[in-house]
Amino acid sequence: DLSGKVIGFSQIGSESGWRAAETSVTKSEAEKLGVDLKFADAQQKQENQIKAIRGFIAQGVAAILIAPVVATGWEEVLTEAKEANIPVILLDRGIDAPQDLYLTSVASDQVKEGRVAGEWLVGAVGDKECKVVELQGTVGSSPAINRKQGFEEGIKGHANLSIIRSQTGDFTRAKGKEVMEGFLKAEDGGKGICAVYAHNDDMAVGAIQAIKDAGLKPGSDILVVSIDGVPDIFQAMVAGEANATVELTPNMAGPAFAALDAYLTDGTQPEKFIITESKLYTPKDDPQGEYDRRKGLGY
Protein backbone atom coordinates (compact mmCIF):
# COMPACT_ATOMS: atom_id res chain seq x y z
CA ASP A 1 0.00 0.00 0.00
CA LEU A 2 1.52 3.26 -1.11
CA SER A 3 -0.76 5.47 0.88
CA GLY A 4 1.13 8.02 2.94
CA LYS A 5 4.44 7.29 1.20
CA VAL A 6 6.54 10.17 -0.05
CA ILE A 7 7.47 9.70 -3.69
CA GLY A 8 9.55 12.12 -5.73
CA PHE A 9 8.72 12.79 -9.35
CA SER A 10 11.25 14.56 -11.53
CA GLN A 11 9.43 15.80 -14.60
CA ILE A 12 11.20 17.22 -17.67
CA GLY A 13 9.13 20.34 -17.89
CA SER A 14 5.94 21.45 -19.50
CA GLU A 15 7.08 21.92 -23.07
CA SER A 16 4.03 20.33 -24.70
CA GLY A 17 0.40 19.59 -24.09
CA TRP A 18 1.16 15.94 -23.85
CA ARG A 19 3.62 16.47 -21.06
CA ALA A 20 1.22 18.67 -19.16
CA ALA A 21 -1.25 15.80 -19.41
CA GLU A 22 1.32 13.34 -18.14
CA THR A 23 1.99 15.57 -15.16
CA SER A 24 -1.65 15.98 -14.30
CA VAL A 25 -2.41 12.28 -14.77
CA THR A 26 0.52 11.35 -12.55
CA LYS A 27 -0.66 13.74 -9.88
CA SER A 28 -4.20 12.43 -9.97
CA GLU A 29 -3.00 8.80 -9.90
CA ALA A 30 -0.91 9.66 -6.86
CA GLU A 31 -3.84 11.32 -5.21
CA LYS A 32 -5.98 8.27 -5.83
CA LEU A 33 -3.44 6.10 -4.02
CA GLY A 34 -2.86 8.56 -1.23
CA VAL A 35 0.76 9.07 -2.26
CA ASP A 36 2.48 12.24 -1.08
CA LEU A 37 3.97 13.20 -4.46
CA LYS A 38 6.91 15.60 -4.46
CA PHE A 39 6.89 17.15 -7.90
CA ALA A 40 9.94 18.83 -9.40
CA ASP A 41 9.88 20.49 -12.78
CA ALA A 42 13.29 20.55 -14.46
CA GLN A 43 12.55 23.20 -17.07
CA GLN A 44 13.93 20.91 -19.79
CA LYS A 45 17.34 20.66 -18.16
CA GLN A 46 19.03 17.44 -17.22
CA GLU A 47 21.16 19.16 -14.61
CA ASN A 48 17.99 20.25 -12.84
CA GLN A 49 16.71 16.70 -12.89
CA ILE A 50 19.91 15.44 -11.35
CA LYS A 51 19.67 18.15 -8.70
CA ALA A 52 16.08 17.18 -8.01
CA ILE A 53 16.98 13.53 -7.62
CA ARG A 54 19.78 14.42 -5.23
CA GLY A 55 17.31 16.56 -3.32
CA PHE A 56 14.88 13.64 -3.12
CA ILE A 57 17.64 11.40 -1.82
CA ALA A 58 18.61 13.96 0.80
CA GLN A 59 14.97 14.13 1.80
CA GLY A 60 14.78 10.36 2.14
CA VAL A 61 11.80 9.69 -0.14
CA ALA A 62 10.39 6.17 -0.53
CA ALA A 63 10.80 6.05 -4.29
CA ILE A 64 11.65 8.26 -7.25
CA LEU A 65 9.95 8.59 -10.62
CA ILE A 66 11.96 10.17 -13.42
CA ALA A 67 10.92 11.20 -16.88
CA PRO A 68 14.47 11.53 -18.17
CA VAL A 69 15.13 14.36 -20.60
CA VAL A 70 18.01 12.50 -22.28
CA ALA A 71 19.16 8.92 -22.28
CA THR A 72 22.69 9.49 -21.05
CA GLY A 73 24.24 10.69 -17.88
CA TRP A 74 22.24 9.01 -15.15
CA GLU A 75 24.63 6.44 -13.81
CA GLU A 76 26.21 8.45 -11.06
CA VAL A 77 23.08 9.85 -9.52
CA LEU A 78 21.17 6.58 -9.83
CA THR A 79 24.02 4.83 -8.10
CA GLU A 80 23.62 7.29 -5.30
CA ALA A 81 19.92 6.49 -5.11
CA LYS A 82 20.67 2.80 -5.10
CA GLU A 83 23.16 3.22 -2.27
CA ALA A 84 20.44 5.01 -0.36
CA ASN A 85 18.09 2.09 -1.09
CA ILE A 86 15.58 4.19 -2.96
CA PRO A 87 13.90 2.43 -5.90
CA VAL A 88 13.79 4.42 -9.14
CA ILE A 89 11.25 4.10 -11.93
CA LEU A 90 11.71 5.63 -15.35
CA LEU A 91 8.77 7.10 -17.13
CA ASP A 92 8.17 7.42 -20.88
CA ARG A 93 11.81 7.36 -21.98
CA GLY A 94 14.59 4.86 -21.46
CA ILE A 95 18.17 5.53 -20.47
CA ASP A 96 21.63 4.18 -21.22
CA ALA A 97 22.58 2.81 -17.86
CA PRO A 98 22.98 -0.57 -16.24
CA GLN A 99 19.56 -2.08 -15.66
CA ASP A 100 20.14 -2.76 -12.00
CA LEU A 101 20.07 0.98 -11.33
CA TYR A 102 16.34 1.18 -11.78
CA LEU A 103 13.39 -0.92 -10.81
CA THR A 104 11.59 -0.67 -14.09
CA SER A 105 11.00 1.59 -17.03
CA VAL A 106 7.48 2.42 -18.12
CA ALA A 107 7.62 3.76 -21.63
CA SER A 108 6.30 3.51 -25.08
CA ASP A 109 8.38 2.15 -27.90
CA GLN A 110 9.15 5.31 -29.85
CA VAL A 111 10.56 3.45 -32.80
CA LYS A 112 7.44 1.41 -32.92
CA GLU A 113 5.29 4.55 -32.86
CA GLY A 114 7.06 5.76 -35.96
CA ARG A 115 6.76 2.36 -37.56
CA VAL A 116 3.05 2.16 -36.89
CA ALA A 117 2.59 5.55 -38.49
CA GLY A 118 4.70 4.51 -41.49
CA GLU A 119 2.89 1.23 -41.92
CA TRP A 120 -0.46 2.95 -41.78
CA LEU A 121 0.63 5.28 -44.56
CA VAL A 122 1.86 2.36 -46.65
CA GLY A 123 -1.54 0.78 -46.30
CA ALA A 124 -3.39 3.99 -46.98
CA VAL A 125 -1.69 4.88 -50.26
CA GLY A 126 -1.38 1.38 -51.65
CA ASP A 127 0.66 1.38 -54.84
CA LYS A 128 0.23 5.04 -55.57
CA GLU A 129 3.28 7.20 -55.90
CA CYS A 130 3.52 9.18 -52.64
CA LYS A 131 5.91 11.91 -51.70
CA VAL A 132 6.04 12.49 -47.97
CA VAL A 133 7.23 15.53 -46.07
CA GLU A 134 8.37 15.08 -42.51
CA LEU A 135 8.13 17.48 -39.58
CA GLN A 136 10.81 16.43 -37.13
CA GLY A 137 10.86 17.04 -33.44
CA THR A 138 13.59 19.00 -31.72
CA VAL A 139 16.92 18.16 -33.31
CA GLY A 140 18.73 15.65 -31.19
CA SER A 141 15.87 14.70 -28.89
CA SER A 142 15.31 10.98 -28.57
CA PRO A 143 11.66 10.97 -29.74
CA ALA A 144 12.71 12.84 -32.87
CA ILE A 145 15.48 10.39 -33.62
CA ASN A 146 13.44 7.28 -32.85
CA ARG A 147 10.23 8.35 -34.52
CA LYS A 148 12.17 9.24 -37.64
CA GLN A 149 13.90 5.91 -37.61
CA GLY A 150 10.67 4.02 -36.96
CA PHE A 151 8.83 5.75 -39.78
CA GLU A 152 11.64 5.03 -42.19
CA GLU A 153 11.51 1.39 -41.16
CA GLY A 154 7.77 1.41 -41.65
CA ILE A 155 7.91 2.58 -45.25
CA LYS A 156 11.00 0.59 -46.15
CA GLY A 157 10.66 -1.60 -49.17
CA HIS A 158 7.90 0.49 -50.66
CA ALA A 159 9.57 2.35 -53.42
CA ASN A 160 6.44 4.35 -54.16
CA LEU A 161 6.85 6.14 -50.83
CA SER A 162 9.68 8.55 -50.37
CA ILE A 163 10.49 11.31 -47.88
CA ILE A 164 11.25 14.32 -50.02
CA ARG A 165 11.68 16.96 -47.34
CA SER A 166 12.42 16.82 -43.67
CA GLN A 167 12.85 19.78 -41.34
CA THR A 168 12.54 20.38 -37.66
CA GLY A 169 9.37 21.92 -36.30
CA ASP A 170 10.61 21.82 -32.73
CA PHE A 171 7.50 19.93 -31.63
CA THR A 172 5.50 23.17 -31.70
CA ARG A 173 2.41 24.19 -33.58
CA ALA A 174 3.79 27.50 -34.73
CA LYS A 175 6.96 26.02 -36.16
CA GLY A 176 5.01 23.14 -37.62
CA LYS A 177 2.87 25.59 -39.50
CA GLU A 178 5.80 27.70 -40.66
CA VAL A 179 7.79 24.74 -41.88
CA MET A 180 4.80 23.28 -43.65
CA GLU A 181 4.26 26.61 -45.39
CA GLY A 182 7.81 26.47 -46.63
CA PHE A 183 7.35 22.91 -47.86
CA LEU A 184 4.19 23.82 -49.70
CA LYS A 185 5.88 26.69 -51.51
CA ALA A 186 8.94 24.64 -52.31
CA GLU A 187 6.83 21.82 -53.72
CA ASP A 188 4.83 23.76 -56.23
CA GLY A 189 2.08 24.90 -53.91
CA GLY A 190 1.81 21.46 -52.39
CA LYS A 191 0.76 19.70 -55.55
CA GLY A 192 3.69 17.33 -55.26
CA ILE A 193 3.02 16.37 -51.66
CA CYS A 194 0.86 13.37 -50.89
CA ALA A 195 1.32 13.12 -47.13
CA VAL A 196 2.79 14.82 -44.14
CA TYR A 197 4.24 12.90 -41.23
CA ALA A 198 4.68 14.87 -38.03
CA HIS A 199 6.61 13.64 -35.01
CA ASN A 200 3.87 14.99 -32.79
CA ASP A 201 0.28 16.09 -33.08
CA ASP A 202 0.98 19.72 -32.26
CA MET A 203 3.08 20.12 -35.38
CA ALA A 204 0.45 18.27 -37.35
CA VAL A 205 -2.22 20.70 -36.18
CA GLY A 206 -0.02 23.56 -37.37
CA ALA A 207 0.61 21.84 -40.68
CA ILE A 208 -3.12 21.31 -41.21
CA GLN A 209 -3.68 25.06 -41.00
CA ALA A 210 -0.85 25.73 -43.43
CA ILE A 211 -2.38 23.30 -45.87
CA LYS A 212 -5.75 24.96 -45.60
CA ASP A 213 -4.20 28.38 -46.12
CA ALA A 214 -2.62 27.09 -49.30
CA GLY A 215 -6.08 26.23 -50.59
CA LEU A 216 -5.70 22.47 -50.26
CA LYS A 217 -7.69 20.06 -48.20
CA PRO A 218 -5.79 18.39 -45.40
CA GLY A 219 -6.89 14.83 -44.92
CA SER A 220 -7.66 14.31 -48.58
CA ASP A 221 -5.34 16.37 -50.80
CA ILE A 222 -2.57 15.78 -48.34
CA LEU A 223 -2.76 12.98 -45.81
CA VAL A 224 -1.84 13.82 -42.25
CA VAL A 225 -0.34 11.25 -39.91
CA SER A 226 1.20 12.00 -36.56
CA ILE A 227 1.91 10.72 -33.07
CA ASP A 228 0.65 11.38 -29.52
CA GLY A 229 -3.13 11.35 -29.64
CA VAL A 230 -3.79 14.75 -28.11
CA PRO A 231 -7.39 16.02 -28.08
CA ASP A 232 -6.93 18.57 -30.85
CA ILE A 233 -5.89 15.97 -33.39
CA PHE A 234 -9.11 14.07 -32.71
CA GLN A 235 -11.00 17.25 -33.31
CA ALA A 236 -9.19 17.57 -36.62
CA MET A 237 -10.17 13.99 -37.40
CA VAL A 238 -13.78 14.83 -36.70
CA ALA A 239 -13.45 17.60 -39.26
CA GLY A 240 -11.83 15.16 -41.66
CA GLU A 241 -8.55 17.03 -41.65
CA ALA A 242 -6.33 14.44 -40.01
CA ASN A 243 -6.01 10.81 -40.99
CA ALA A 244 -4.15 8.95 -38.31
CA THR A 245 -2.44 9.33 -34.99
CA VAL A 246 -0.53 6.90 -32.83
CA GLU A 247 -1.40 7.27 -29.22
CA LEU A 248 1.18 7.83 -26.56
CA THR A 249 -0.60 7.41 -23.29
CA PRO A 250 0.00 10.03 -20.64
CA ASN A 251 -0.74 7.49 -17.97
CA MET A 252 2.73 6.16 -17.34
CA ALA A 253 2.32 6.58 -13.62
CA GLY A 254 -0.48 4.05 -13.21
CA PRO A 255 1.62 1.03 -14.17
CA ALA A 256 4.58 2.56 -12.36
CA PHE A 257 2.73 2.86 -9.08
CA ALA A 258 1.37 -0.65 -9.45
CA ALA A 259 4.84 -2.09 -9.97
CA LEU A 260 6.18 -0.07 -7.09
CA ASP A 261 3.41 -1.17 -4.80
CA ALA A 262 4.10 -4.81 -5.50
CA TYR A 263 7.80 -4.33 -5.03
CA LEU A 264 7.45 -2.51 -1.73
CA THR A 265 4.95 -4.97 -0.25
CA ASP A 266 6.68 -8.24 -1.00
CA GLY A 267 9.72 -7.48 -3.09
CA THR A 268 8.16 -8.59 -6.40
CA GLN A 269 10.53 -7.60 -9.15
CA PRO A 270 8.49 -6.11 -11.97
CA GLU A 271 9.40 -6.57 -15.58
CA LYS A 272 12.34 -4.39 -16.51
CA PHE A 273 10.50 -2.76 -19.38
CA ILE A 274 6.82 -2.08 -19.21
CA ILE A 275 5.93 -1.03 -22.72
CA THR A 276 2.77 0.97 -23.11
CA GLU A 277 0.54 0.40 -26.05
CA SER A 278 1.13 2.34 -29.29
CA LYS A 279 -2.41 2.31 -30.52
CA LEU A 280 -3.32 3.67 -33.92
CA TYR A 281 -6.37 5.87 -34.20
CA THR A 282 -8.05 6.79 -37.45
CA PRO A 283 -11.34 8.58 -38.15
CA LYS A 284 -13.03 5.20 -37.88
CA ASP A 285 -12.26 5.02 -34.17
CA ASP A 286 -14.88 7.45 -32.88
CA PRO A 287 -12.70 10.56 -32.79
CA GLN A 288 -15.41 12.60 -31.11
CA GLY A 289 -15.56 10.11 -28.26
CA GLU A 290 -11.80 10.05 -27.98
CA TYR A 291 -11.76 13.82 -27.88
CA ASP A 292 -14.32 13.97 -25.10
CA ARG A 293 -12.44 11.35 -23.12
CA ARG A 294 -9.20 13.31 -23.23
CA LYS A 295 -10.48 16.84 -22.91
CA GLY A 296 -10.25 17.00 -19.14
CA LEU A 297 -6.86 15.36 -18.75
CA GLY A 298 -4.81 18.53 -18.77
CA TYR A 299 -3.52 18.39 -22.35
Binding site: S166, R173, G182
Partner: protein, 332 residues
Protein backbone atom coordinates in the same frame (compact mmCIF):
# COMPACT_ATOMS: atom_id res chain seq x y z
CA UNK B 1 23.25 65.14 -55.18
CA UNK B 2 19.92 63.65 -54.19
CA UNK B 3 20.51 60.62 -56.35
CA UNK B 4 23.80 59.91 -54.72
CA UNK B 5 22.19 59.92 -51.29
CA UNK B 6 19.53 57.57 -52.45
CA UNK B 7 22.08 55.22 -53.90
CA UNK B 8 24.24 55.41 -50.82
CA UNK B 9 21.24 54.55 -48.67
CA UNK B 10 20.51 51.51 -50.77
CA UNK B 11 24.11 50.50 -50.39
CA UNK B 12 23.75 50.23 -46.65
CA UNK B 13 24.96 46.84 -45.54
CA UNK B 14 21.47 45.94 -44.31
CA UNK B 15 19.93 46.35 -47.74
CA UNK B 16 22.84 44.60 -49.37
CA UNK B 17 22.46 41.74 -46.93
CA UNK B 18 18.70 41.51 -47.45
CA UNK B 19 19.14 41.53 -51.21
CA UNK B 20 21.85 38.90 -50.97
CA UNK B 21 19.76 36.61 -48.79
CA UNK B 22 16.75 36.99 -51.07
CA UNK B 23 18.92 36.33 -54.09
CA UNK B 24 20.31 33.17 -52.55
CA UNK B 25 16.78 32.08 -51.72
CA UNK B 26 15.82 32.66 -55.33
CA UNK B 27 18.78 30.62 -56.54
CA UNK B 28 17.83 27.80 -54.19
CA UNK B 29 14.24 27.98 -55.20
CA UNK B 30 13.35 29.66 -58.50
CA UNK B 31 9.73 30.18 -57.54
CA UNK B 32 10.73 32.33 -54.61
CA UNK B 33 9.41 35.57 -56.02
CA UNK B 34 6.16 34.14 -57.40
CA UNK B 35 3.07 35.64 -55.91
CA UNK B 36 -0.48 34.45 -56.53
CA UNK B 37 -3.84 35.39 -55.16
CA UNK B 38 -5.40 32.62 -53.10
CA UNK B 39 -8.80 33.01 -51.44
CA UNK B 40 -8.42 36.78 -51.62
CA UNK B 41 -5.06 36.62 -49.99
CA UNK B 42 -1.62 37.05 -51.50
CA UNK B 43 0.32 33.86 -51.44
CA UNK B 44 4.00 33.22 -52.05
CA UNK B 45 7.36 32.82 -50.43
CA UNK B 46 8.08 36.53 -50.28
CA UNK B 47 4.75 37.04 -48.58
CA UNK B 48 5.72 34.27 -46.18
CA UNK B 49 8.92 36.09 -45.31
CA UNK B 50 6.94 39.22 -44.51
CA UNK B 51 4.20 37.35 -42.73
CA UNK B 52 6.50 35.18 -40.61
CA UNK B 53 8.82 38.09 -40.02
CA UNK B 54 6.00 40.25 -38.70
CA UNK B 55 6.04 39.08 -35.05
CA UNK B 56 9.77 39.64 -34.70
CA UNK B 57 9.51 42.91 -36.63
CA UNK B 58 6.85 44.13 -34.21
CA UNK B 59 8.97 43.11 -31.24
CA UNK B 60 11.90 44.86 -32.85
CA UNK B 61 9.93 48.10 -33.14
CA UNK B 62 9.43 48.23 -29.38
CA UNK B 63 12.88 46.86 -28.72
CA UNK B 64 14.45 49.59 -30.84
CA UNK B 65 13.05 52.27 -28.57
CA UNK B 66 14.18 50.39 -25.48
CA UNK B 67 17.66 49.84 -26.82
CA UNK B 68 17.90 53.49 -27.85
CA UNK B 69 17.54 54.39 -24.18
CA UNK B 70 20.52 52.12 -23.46
CA UNK B 71 18.25 49.39 -22.14
CA UNK B 72 17.16 46.01 -23.32
CA UNK B 73 14.00 44.01 -22.81
CA UNK B 74 14.47 40.28 -22.38
CA UNK B 75 10.88 39.72 -21.35
CA UNK B 76 9.15 40.30 -24.68
CA UNK B 77 8.98 36.61 -25.53
CA UNK B 78 7.32 35.83 -22.22
CA UNK B 79 4.95 38.77 -22.61
CA UNK B 80 3.90 37.37 -25.98
CA UNK B 81 3.00 34.13 -24.26
CA UNK B 82 1.07 35.93 -21.54
CA UNK B 83 -0.91 38.03 -24.00
CA UNK B 84 -1.80 35.03 -26.14
CA UNK B 85 -2.80 33.05 -23.07
CA UNK B 86 -5.01 35.79 -21.70
CA UNK B 87 -6.78 36.29 -25.01
CA UNK B 88 -7.30 32.58 -25.54
CA UNK B 89 -8.60 31.90 -22.07
CA UNK B 90 -10.98 34.84 -22.29
CA UNK B 91 -12.53 33.81 -25.59
CA UNK B 92 -12.83 30.19 -24.56
CA UNK B 93 -14.49 31.48 -21.42
CA UNK B 94 -17.09 33.20 -23.54
CA UNK B 95 -15.77 36.74 -23.83
CA UNK B 96 -15.96 38.45 -27.18
CA UNK B 97 -12.88 38.57 -29.37
CA UNK B 98 -12.62 42.32 -29.10
CA UNK B 99 -12.66 42.22 -25.32
CA UNK B 100 -9.98 39.54 -25.41
CA UNK B 101 -7.79 41.63 -27.70
CA UNK B 102 -8.12 44.70 -25.53
CA UNK B 103 -7.45 42.69 -22.39
CA UNK B 104 -4.38 41.06 -23.91
CA UNK B 105 -2.98 44.40 -24.99
CA UNK B 106 -3.71 45.82 -21.56
CA UNK B 107 -1.84 42.97 -19.94
CA UNK B 108 1.09 43.64 -22.27
CA UNK B 109 1.04 47.29 -21.28
CA UNK B 110 0.97 46.24 -17.64
CA UNK B 111 4.00 44.03 -18.14
CA UNK B 112 5.77 46.93 -19.81
CA UNK B 113 4.89 49.18 -16.91
CA UNK B 114 6.30 46.65 -14.50
CA UNK B 115 9.59 46.57 -16.40
CA UNK B 116 9.55 50.33 -16.60
CA UNK B 117 9.12 50.72 -12.86
CA UNK B 118 11.96 48.30 -12.18
CA UNK B 119 14.28 50.07 -14.56
CA UNK B 120 13.25 53.63 -13.84
CA UNK B 121 12.35 53.86 -10.20
CA UNK B 122 14.13 50.90 -8.65
CA UNK B 123 17.06 51.57 -10.96
CA UNK B 124 17.68 47.91 -11.62
CA UNK B 125 19.81 47.27 -14.65
CA UNK B 126 17.57 46.55 -17.63
CA UNK B 127 18.93 43.10 -18.46
CA UNK B 128 18.29 41.87 -14.96
CA UNK B 129 15.08 43.79 -14.45
CA UNK B 130 13.56 42.23 -17.54
CA UNK B 131 15.12 38.85 -16.82
CA UNK B 132 12.73 38.64 -13.87
CA UNK B 133 9.71 38.82 -16.14
CA UNK B 134 11.38 36.62 -18.72
CA UNK B 135 11.62 33.83 -16.16
CA UNK B 136 8.41 34.43 -14.26
CA UNK B 137 6.34 35.57 -17.25
CA UNK B 138 6.28 32.25 -18.99
CA UNK B 139 5.21 30.73 -15.73
CA UNK B 140 2.40 33.26 -15.49
CA UNK B 141 1.33 32.44 -19.02
CA UNK B 142 1.24 28.76 -18.14
CA UNK B 143 -0.64 29.57 -14.99
CA UNK B 144 -3.30 31.19 -17.14
CA UNK B 145 -3.52 28.25 -19.55
CA UNK B 146 -2.73 25.66 -16.86
CA UNK B 147 0.02 24.31 -19.02
CA UNK B 148 -2.06 23.20 -21.95
CA UNK B 149 -2.51 24.65 -25.40
CA UNK B 150 -5.78 26.55 -25.31
CA UNK B 151 -7.37 26.21 -28.71
CA UNK B 152 -10.01 28.70 -29.78
CA UNK B 153 -12.15 29.48 -32.78
CA UNK B 154 -12.89 33.12 -32.17
CA UNK B 155 -13.05 34.88 -35.54
CA UNK B 156 -11.50 38.13 -34.33
CA UNK B 157 -8.38 36.48 -32.94
CA UNK B 158 -8.08 34.21 -35.93
CA UNK B 159 -8.45 37.19 -38.23
CA UNK B 160 -5.55 38.91 -36.48
CA UNK B 161 -3.36 35.89 -37.05
CA UNK B 162 -4.43 34.70 -40.46
CA UNK B 163 -6.86 37.19 -41.97
CA UNK B 164 -6.12 39.52 -44.83
CA UNK B 165 -6.79 43.12 -45.67
CA UNK B 166 -6.72 44.03 -49.36
CA UNK B 167 -5.01 40.74 -49.98
CA UNK B 168 -2.29 41.43 -47.47
CA UNK B 169 -2.08 39.04 -44.53
CA UNK B 170 -3.02 40.82 -41.32
CA UNK B 171 0.31 40.32 -39.53
CA UNK B 172 1.99 42.23 -42.34
CA UNK B 173 -0.64 44.94 -42.19
CA UNK B 174 -0.31 45.26 -38.41
CA UNK B 175 3.47 45.31 -38.53
CA UNK B 176 3.46 47.92 -41.28
CA UNK B 177 0.96 50.10 -39.47
CA UNK B 178 2.95 49.87 -36.24
CA UNK B 179 6.27 50.48 -37.95
CA UNK B 180 5.03 53.47 -39.92
CA UNK B 181 3.02 54.78 -36.99
CA UNK B 182 5.88 54.46 -34.54
CA UNK B 183 8.34 56.01 -36.96
CA UNK B 184 6.06 58.95 -37.59
CA UNK B 185 5.31 59.48 -33.91
CA UNK B 186 8.94 59.29 -33.02
CA UNK B 187 10.12 61.56 -35.80
CA UNK B 188 7.27 64.01 -36.05
CA UNK B 189 7.19 64.62 -32.34
CA UNK B 190 10.16 65.27 -30.15
CA UNK B 191 10.10 61.77 -28.72
CA UNK B 192 12.82 60.45 -30.99
CA UNK B 193 15.28 63.13 -30.06
CA UNK B 194 14.45 62.91 -26.38
CA UNK B 195 14.81 59.14 -26.38
CA UNK B 196 18.18 59.46 -28.03
CA UNK B 197 19.23 62.08 -25.52
CA UNK B 198 18.28 59.86 -22.60
CA UNK B 199 20.14 56.97 -24.17
CA UNK B 200 23.28 58.98 -24.77
CA UNK B 201 23.51 60.59 -21.35
CA UNK B 202 20.78 60.15 -18.83
CA UNK B 203 22.29 62.50 -16.32
CA UNK B 204 22.65 65.29 -18.85
CA UNK B 205 19.11 64.61 -19.98
CA UNK B 206 17.90 65.23 -16.46
CA UNK B 207 19.84 68.47 -16.26
CA UNK B 208 18.36 69.56 -19.57
CA UNK B 209 14.89 69.22 -18.13
CA UNK B 210 13.85 66.03 -19.87
CA UNK B 211 11.55 63.88 -17.74
CA UNK B 212 13.59 60.81 -18.45
CA UNK B 213 11.66 58.71 -15.95
CA UNK B 214 8.38 59.19 -17.72
CA UNK B 215 10.05 58.66 -21.06
CA UNK B 216 11.56 55.36 -19.95
CA UNK B 217 8.19 54.24 -18.64
CA UNK B 218 6.61 55.03 -21.99
CA UNK B 219 9.31 53.20 -23.87
CA UNK B 220 9.10 50.01 -21.83
CA UNK B 221 5.34 50.16 -21.89
CA UNK B 222 5.41 50.48 -25.64
CA UNK B 223 7.70 47.46 -25.85
CA UNK B 224 5.18 45.56 -23.74
CA UNK B 225 2.39 46.67 -26.04
CA UNK B 226 4.33 45.54 -29.11
CA UNK B 227 5.06 42.20 -27.47
CA UNK B 228 1.37 41.71 -26.68
CA UNK B 229 0.47 42.52 -30.28
CA UNK B 230 2.99 39.97 -31.45
CA UNK B 231 1.59 37.49 -28.98
CA UNK B 232 -1.91 37.94 -30.37
CA UNK B 233 -0.68 37.38 -33.91
CA UNK B 234 1.20 34.24 -32.98
CA UNK B 235 -1.77 32.87 -31.06
CA UNK B 236 -4.20 33.78 -33.82
CA UNK B 237 -1.96 32.15 -36.35
CA UNK B 238 -2.16 28.72 -34.75
CA UNK B 239 -5.63 29.30 -33.30
CA UNK B 240 -4.36 28.52 -29.89
CA UNK B 241 -2.27 29.85 -27.06
CA UNK B 242 0.83 27.76 -26.59
CA UNK B 243 2.16 29.26 -23.40
CA UNK B 244 5.18 26.97 -23.39
CA UNK B 245 6.49 27.86 -26.80
CA UNK B 246 4.96 31.13 -27.94
CA UNK B 247 7.73 33.66 -28.34
CA UNK B 248 10.35 31.32 -26.94
CA UNK B 249 13.79 32.91 -27.54
CA UNK B 250 12.24 35.54 -29.78
CA UNK B 251 13.69 38.26 -27.58
CA UNK B 252 17.10 37.30 -28.90
CA UNK B 253 15.88 37.51 -32.49
CA UNK B 254 14.36 40.90 -31.79
CA UNK B 255 17.56 42.24 -30.26
CA UNK B 256 19.48 40.82 -33.16
CA UNK B 257 17.15 42.51 -35.61
CA UNK B 258 17.66 45.85 -33.91
CA UNK B 259 21.41 45.49 -33.93
CA UNK B 260 21.52 44.32 -37.52
CA UNK B 261 19.45 47.39 -38.25
CA UNK B 262 22.30 49.48 -36.95
CA UNK B 263 21.01 50.71 -33.58
CA UNK B 264 23.76 50.50 -31.03
CA UNK B 265 23.26 48.56 -27.84
CA UNK B 266 24.98 51.46 -26.14
CA UNK B 267 21.94 53.61 -26.74
CA UNK B 268 21.48 56.76 -28.73
CA UNK B 269 20.78 56.93 -32.43
CA UNK B 270 18.10 54.55 -33.59
CA UNK B 271 16.06 53.72 -36.64
CA UNK B 272 12.82 51.79 -36.49
CA UNK B 273 12.59 51.07 -40.22
CA UNK B 274 16.09 49.65 -40.26
CA UNK B 275 15.21 47.36 -37.34
CA UNK B 276 12.30 46.08 -39.38
CA UNK B 277 14.72 45.43 -42.22
CA UNK B 278 16.87 43.58 -39.69
CA UNK B 279 13.90 41.40 -38.76
CA UNK B 280 13.24 40.68 -42.42
CA UNK B 281 16.84 39.66 -42.97
CA UNK B 282 16.54 37.16 -40.14
CA UNK B 283 13.26 35.80 -41.47
CA UNK B 284 14.47 35.63 -45.06
CA UNK B 285 17.35 33.60 -43.75
CA UNK B 286 15.04 31.27 -41.82
CA UNK B 287 12.79 30.81 -44.82
CA UNK B 288 15.82 30.19 -46.97
CA UNK B 289 16.99 27.47 -44.64
CA UNK B 290 13.51 25.94 -44.74
CA UNK B 291 13.25 25.74 -48.49
CA UNK B 292 16.88 24.84 -49.05
CA UNK B 293 16.36 21.31 -47.83
CA UNK B 294 19.44 21.44 -45.63
CA UNK B 295 19.54 18.96 -42.86
CA UNK B 296 18.19 20.79 -39.78
CA UNK B 297 21.39 20.17 -37.84
CA UNK B 298 22.95 22.90 -39.95
CA UNK B 299 20.31 25.55 -39.26
CA UNK B 300 22.13 27.30 -36.45
CA UNK B 301 25.48 27.13 -38.17
CA UNK B 302 24.11 28.75 -41.32
CA UNK B 303 22.33 31.36 -39.26
CA UNK B 304 25.40 32.30 -37.27
CA UNK B 305 27.44 32.42 -40.46
CA UNK B 306 25.09 34.95 -42.03
CA UNK B 307 24.97 37.05 -38.86
CA UNK B 308 28.72 37.13 -38.64
CA UNK B 309 28.94 38.18 -42.27
CA UNK B 310 26.47 41.03 -41.79
CA UNK B 311 28.20 42.22 -38.66
CA UNK B 312 31.59 42.16 -40.29
CA UNK B 313 30.24 44.17 -43.20
CA UNK B 314 28.75 46.63 -40.76
CA UNK B 315 31.81 46.98 -38.56
CA UNK B 316 33.12 50.55 -38.69
CA UNK B 317 36.52 49.55 -40.03
CA UNK B 318 35.22 47.34 -42.80
CA UNK B 319 32.37 49.69 -43.65
CA UNK B 320 34.83 52.53 -44.07
CA UNK B 321 37.09 50.48 -46.29
CA UNK B 322 34.15 49.45 -48.44
CA UNK B 323 32.89 53.00 -48.73
CA UNK B 324 36.30 54.22 -49.84
CA UNK B 325 36.41 51.44 -52.37
CA UNK B 326 32.99 52.37 -53.68
CA UNK B 327 33.85 56.06 -53.88
CA UNK B 328 37.02 55.26 -55.76
CA UNK B 329 35.14 53.14 -58.23
CA UNK B 330 32.58 55.80 -58.80
CA UNK B 331 35.24 58.33 -59.50
CA UNK B 332 36.96 56.05 -61.96
Amino acid sequence: MKRVHWKAALLRPQFVALAAVLLINWLLFPGFFDITLQDGRLFGSVIDVLNRGAPVAILAIGMTAVIATKGVDLSVGAVMAIAGAVAAVLVTGGASGLVAVVAALAVGVLCGLWNGVLVTYLEIQPIIATLVLMVAGRGLAQLVTEGSIVTFSDPVLIFIGTGALFGMPMPIVIAAVLAIGATLIVRKTALGLLIEAVGVNRSAARFAGISSGLLLMVVYTFAGFCAATSGLIVAGDIRGADANNAGLWLELDAILAVVIGGTSLLGGRFSIPMSVVGALIIQAMNTGILISGFSPEFNLVVKSGVIILILVLQAPLVAQALRKRFMAERKA
